[in-house]
């Protein structure tokens, strides 16, 4: 009896011991940093000097009056919308197409997944070269004026060109997630719909879509967060230019913190992004969790 009691106690200690290192690591590096970040946003610290003062909401007030900040918020929103729409539609089309293949299905699917293996920086640098060297040649042959110089260098096209490169990579994951969702649909449903004379579109609308809704939620959450926090692609492709046309909030924050010596302002910007991301995730989870077969 005494033995088992002792053992129970030591068991409890093992459970507790398992949690110590992770909780300390997380608290020290993550939580303390978040708290510091919020704290810095209320100071006038430039990131280098030894002293700084608390200035209350001054950074926030200045930001709300700053047209460049609004511009970068607007760019981020536009970027995210284009990314989400592009990724969801493309991956949905690809998933339905790939799933209905009879031959080489695994092989073709595995090629479509290759971009997910490559880092954003490598992809951006490759596409930078393609925009610069390949598209102008193609444009000349086909007589498309738009391609005559790199799309990244014109203010009007730069943002879409950057989004396109990120879509090129970001489509892979949602596609295989959609395929996993499609494979849960029982074949009999399609069979009976076909018997009843439903068209391909009707079958998609009334059988495929309801089953896919939960996966749509997963993919939306994934992609929206990628859009709002995007940094690698615009940073490596354009660095925010030309004339701030592709300056998303991730770049503004980085530049203010480490180039413009406005560290506290950069933290305030990050905090505003935090609030936006949290609000978006919550409303969007509420909205999309309704409906769908699994709910």
């Amino acid at each position: 009896m005494k033995g088992s009691k002792q053992k129970k106690l030591s068991g409890r200690w093992t459970y507790f011991a398992f949690t110590i290192i992770p909780v300390v690591l997380y608290t020290f590096f993550y939580v303390v940093s978040v708290i510091n970040g919020v704290r810095y946003s209320f100071t006038n610290w430039d990131g280098m000097s030894k002293d700084y003062d608390f200035v209350g909401f001054k950074n926030y007030l200045l930001l709300f009056k700053n047209p460049y900040f609004w511009n970068s918020l607007k760019t981020t929103l536009l970027y995210s919308i284009m990314l989400v729409v592009g990724v969801i539609i493309t991956s949905l089309i690809l998933a339905v197409s790939l799933n209905s293949l009879k031959w080489f299905k695994t092989f073709i699917k595995s090629i479509y997944f290759v971009p997910a293996m490559i880092g954003g920086i490598t992809i951006s640098l490759i596409w930078d070269q393609i925009y610069y060297r390949v598209l102008p040649v193609i444009g000349q042959k086909l007589g498309i004026e738009l391609f005559s110089q790199s799309l990244l260098m014109t203010g009007k096209t730069a943002l879409s060109a950057v989004v396109f490169v990120q879509i090129w990579q970001a489509v892979a994951m949602p596609t295989v997630i959609f395929i996993a969702g499609l494979q849960q649909i029982p074949d009999e449903q399609y069979e009976s719909a076909r018997m009843d004379g439903a068209t391909a579109f009707q079958r998609f609308r009334y059988i495929t879509m309801p089953y896919l809704l939960p996966t749509v939620t997963v993919n939306l959450v994934l992609t929206i967060k990628q859009g709002f926090t995007s940094f690698d692609f615009p940073y490596a492709l354009t660095g925010g230019g030309p004339a701030r046309a592709t300056e998303v909030i991730g770049i503004t924050i980085y530049n203010d913190a480490f180039k413009n010596m406005r560290f506290s302002v950069a933290n305030a910007e990050a905090c505003i992004l935090f609030v936006i991301v949290a609000l978006f995730s919550l409303t969007q989870l509420k909205l999309t969790s309704k409906g769908g077969v699994n709910e």
Binding site: G37, M117, A270
Partner: protein
């Protein structure tokens, strides 16, 4: 009616094949260009960017292998990824096991939600202050970076594992404990083998993230060249070799290569693992 459905099908199949073909070209063509131009001299590439190289010319590769620190960066990337992954795979399943088996207990329930907070916080909020902190701690080096990866991986890892472990049957563990196994023995002998699928998912997810990550190395390692990772090398290479682009292509190819080789060997498991992670996550 039947004929109409058949025609429908045919149109759809044709359309589908065209879409998939265009997609394949869009994915493979850039990679193909990188491959063929990495074998060209600058002069040759300038003449015709799209043509096959005249001969398999390895000068770019030789130059990169000898005149740049490619091997050092490759070793750095491998070292950071492997050590970080080992730490993550030791810590995450263990703490998740504790949480999953003691969820009725207030302490474990609260650390679960405490760790989950990270899901709602965009990385930028953490990255700026953590950079200052690491600089203050004199940890702008590999050790510091690895610790950060371990800390930042916890949220998603614990989320995945706790949900997975709570679905496992408790009876096997119970009978092991009646047979005299301690909690630690039960964990290593019974639970770890059971959660191997989830372990491979976490391994793939985090390995891809750490290997390809650019932002954290940029903030933590950018000062001294000897400690760069491959993504940093590529980014900085852009300015150095902007005129000699066949050389740049060689660098990009060499940076992608390790991951692509690993992908070729285990693509089935990689796709499966990543999907399992995201659908649950």
């Amino acid at each position: 009616m039947k004929i109409k459905a058949g025609k429908d099908e045919l149109v759809w199949k044709g359309l589908r094949n065209i879409i998939l073909l265009c997609g394949l070209i869009l994915i493979l063509f850039p990679l193909w260009l990188v491959l063929i131009n990495s074998f060209k001299t600058l002069e040759e590439a300038g003449k015709n960017f799209f043509a096959l190289p005249g001969s398999l010319n390895f000068t770019n590769y030789k130059e990169l292998f000898t005149n740049s620190n490619y091997w050092i960066f490759l070793r750095n990337s491998f070292k950071i990824t492997i050590i970080a992954i080992l730490i993550i795979l030791t810590l995450v399943p263990a703490i998740s096991y504790s949480i999953a088996r003691n969820f009725q207990h207030r302490y474990y329930k609260s650390i679960y939600y405490y760790l989950l907070m990270g899901l709602f916080i965009p990385s930028q909020v953490v990255l700026l202050p953590v950079t200052k902190m690491m600089s203050g701690l004199k940890m702008l080096n590999h050790t510091g970076l690895i610790m950060l990866y371990a800390a930042f991986s916890l949220t998603q890892g614990v989320f995945l594992f706790v949900n997975y472990m709570r679905g496992l049957p408790y009876e096997i563990e119970e009978s092991a404990q009646i047979d005299g196994c301690s909690v630690f023995q039960t964990y290593t002998k019974i639970v770890v083998p059971l959660v191997k699928p989830m372990m491979s998912t976490l391994l793939i997810m985090d390995a891809l993230w750490i290997w390809n990550d650019f932002m954290l190395p940029l903030l933590i390692l950018n000062r001294t060249q000897e400690i760069w990772t491959l993504p940093l090398f590529q980014y900085n290479f852009k300015t150095e070799y902007s005129f000699n682009y066949p050389m740049a292509f060689t660098a990009y190819l060499l940076a992608m290569l390790p991951m692509l080789i690993i992908y070729c060997c285990g693509q089935k498991y990689i796709i499966k693992g990543l999907t399992a992670g995201s659908v649950k996550g």
